[in-house]
């Protein structure tokens, strides 16, 4: 009942005054408890990831070896226990958020930029240009992504930079295809023609009239893919092709935990949970945003 009244008031408010599309979406998003919770958790993680660098010193707290404290189970002193070098797993998991979030967000953002340029231009200009570019994208998608990433990392060199380039290269075709299909839905709208009829250039049409009207679905797609990127990054690190030990990347930590899993399961559980939680947060936020963008779909 109250919820209904709430909606009605929103409607009336909308008719009476100005409303801006971003405010509309945010208002809908706020009524989505699960997504709101995911958002709060994610914000907490981001703050934690930033703060971790100030609270703990990388050399002494994160990577230094304390032989006396090896493989201790979770306790008041070490919340998540310690690993086989006596390092505090809690500190390492918290610190590890820096890698995963950074790689996930940067890779997704860079891929999105390439995906928008390729996808939007293909949808807008069409014809032979579209056909050729999309077939190239299809060809890239044909190769199993993990194999392609491993091959690229092998060429580019292990480490953060090689990993981000390889992951971007692998994820751009997917973005390009999805963004192309989103843009195709907008490109034949009459307001595009109306804008052309008032003398707007093609680049301006894409920038001003097409992308803002596709931004919602594109953003959802990017959020959903951040979790995929985080998983890929962890997988590469797990295969010791990404972030190298002793850096506390979650995938690398899992990799180190494999041989001790039966003896000290906490070594695998906590980094694993961290990967799960982060991916889940991005997916749930994406879900909430989908509904918020199109409240009728609920």
């Amino acid at each position: 009942m109250t919820k209904h009244r709430h909606k009605r008031q929103d409607r009336l408010g909308e008719m009476a005054g100005r409303t801006n599309p971003v405010a509309d979406v945010w208002r809908n998003f706020r009524h989505h408890p699960v997504s709101m919770a995911a958002m709060i958790v994610l914000v907490a993680m981001i703050i934690m990831a930033i703060a971790a660098g100030f609270i703990w010193d990388y050399e002494t707290d994160v990577v230094a070896i304390h032989a006396a404290d090896r493989l201790q189970p979770p306790s008041a002193a070490h919340w998540f226990g310690t690993d086989d070098f006596g390092r505090d797993v809690f500190i390492r998991v918290m610190y590890g958020a820096r890698y995963s979030l950074f790689i996930g967000i940067v890779t997704s953002a860079v891929s999105m930029v390439f995906g928008i340029v390729i996808g939007a231009s293909c949808a807008y200009f069409g014809g032979a240009y579209d056909a050729v570019i999309m077939r190239i994208m299809d060809a890239i998608v044909c190769i199993p992504s993990m194999l392609l990433m491993l091959a690229l990392v092998a060429v580019l060199g292990k480490g953060m930079k090689g990993m981000i380039i390889a992951m971007t290269f692998v994820s751009v075709p997917g973005y390009a295809r999805i963004i192309r299909s989103i843009v195709l839905g907008v490109v034949h709208q009459e307001y595009i023609e109306a804008a052309l009829a008032s003398g707007t250039s093609h680049v301006e049409i894409i920038r001003r009239h097409i992308l803002p009207n596709c931004f919602g679905p594109i953003l959802v797609d990017v959020l959903m893919s951040v979790s995929g990127c985080i998983m890929s990054a962890s997988s590469l690190s797990f295969l010791s092709m990404g972030i190298q030990v002793p850096a506390p990347e979650w995938g690398a930590m899992l990799s180190g935990a494999t041989k001790l899993m039966q003896l000290s399961p906490h070594l695998a559980i906590f980094p694993g949970l961290a990967i799960l939680l982060t991916s889940l947060c991005f997916n749930l936020i994406g879900d909430g945003l989908t509904d918020a963008l199109d409240p009728k779909s609920r």
């Binding site: 599309p21 023609e193 109306a194 804008a195 008032s198 001003r208 009239h209 803002p212």
Partner: protein, 331 residues
């Protein structure tokens, strides 16, 4: 180019490549004159090529549709003439919106939903003129006022979804008129509106035409609208102009069987309610199978042997009345 014409289209042929590499011509050998300060109607059923003709003049054709031949002479401000079919895309961009603008059928979708209407109209100005935002805003509000939008200052900040269909069409008209173009193409501007709003919008267009010394090409399938505001009428069928006359002449002496059919198909308020409404039998021939003879002969009640073998040309029957038909006398 005649001195009292703003636009002279000659032999315009716009083609669309088909799957089998052949070319179909949705606009086939069109001659069209738009006299200065006059409203010219372009009438025909859906798919007859009337919108495609307008889009050819605007050069807003979707690839791979293109103009194959013909000229579109346009008298610019200051008197120089250009051929719109030949100039570069960049030059054309300077003409669109500034000297020729267009309003569309669907006011619901002709405005970008994510930008306030004021901003959209303002951008139409700043695309062509280097003026400050506040000066542009003032002109927008003046344009809103001119097209009869109540509370233009408040409406400036509205999003399209907050306005009614009639108001949105007024916004579209304001956007098209804000730079005072010499030529306005109105592609079924009132089809999506109800009749009272339609009457208001047509009255507004007449008013703006007088105020701005503008020529209008009005595309419609509604002969009532033609009777209301047009000076001259062109009837299109299957990509060709089949009849052209001044409005009074056309309604007094309707010659082409297709135009007669259109007139008979209008429901009357007075008169007998018995019998079914007249309809023209059959459908428009498909683009890929356009007959080489008269394109209307399959649906024409008066078709003779000659009609099935030859293409009639557009001939002058006096009084500036052109008709594409072999029959010498009115039936």
């Amino acid at each position: 180019m005649q001195s009292d014409n703003l636009i002279e289209v000659r032999g315009l042929r716009t083609v669309l490549p088909l799957k089998n590499k052949e070319l179909a011509a949705p606009v086939d050998d069109i001659d069209l004159d738009i006299p200065l300060r006059k409203t010219v109607g372009l009438v025909g059923e859906s798919g007859c090529g009337k919108s495609m003709t307008a889009r050819s003049i605007m050069r807003l054709l979707d690839y791979p549709i293109h103009i194959q031949e013909g000229t579109i002479a346009f008298r610019r401000e200051g008197g120089s003439e250009i051929d719109l079919a030949a100039i570069s895309e960049k030059e054309m961009r300077g003409v669109r919106g500034r000297e020729i603008s267009m309003i569309f059928q669907e006011p619901m979708t002709a405005l970008n939903p994510s930008i306030t209407v004021g901003k959209q109209v303002r951008e139409a100005i700043t695309l062509h003129e280097n003026i400050s935002r506040s000066a542009a805003k003032e002109r927008v509000i003046k344009a809103f006022y001119d097209v009869g939008i109540p509370e233009p200052e408040q409406r400036y900040h509205a999003y399209p979804h907050q306005l009614s269909g009639g108001l949105r069409q007024r916004i579209c008209i304001a956007m098209a008129m804000v730079l005072q173009p010499a030529f306005l193409i109105a592609d079924e501007p009132t089809t999506a509106l109800d009749v009272t709003v339609e009457a208001q919008i047509l009255a507004l267009m007449k008013q703006l035409q007088q105020d701005n010394d503008m020529s209008i090409l009005l595309i419609t399938h509604n002969l009532g609208v033609v009777a209301d505001i047009c000076d001259e009428v062109n009837v299109m069928y299957a990509g060709q102009i089949v009849e052209h006359a001044e409005k009074a002449e056309l309604f007094r002496r309707t010659l082409h069987p297709y135009t007669r059919g259109l007139m008979k198909a209008i429901p009357r308020v007075r008169g007998s309610m018995e019998g079914e409404l007249y309809t023209i039998q059959g459908t428009v021939p498909s683009l890929s199978q356009m007959p080489t003879a008269c394109r209307f002969c399959a649906r024409c009640p008066y078709a003779q042997e000659q009609c099935r073998n030859e293409m009639p040309s557009l001939r002058d029957v006096g009084n500036g009345h052109l008709v594409r038909c072999f029959r010498e006398v009115e039936p």
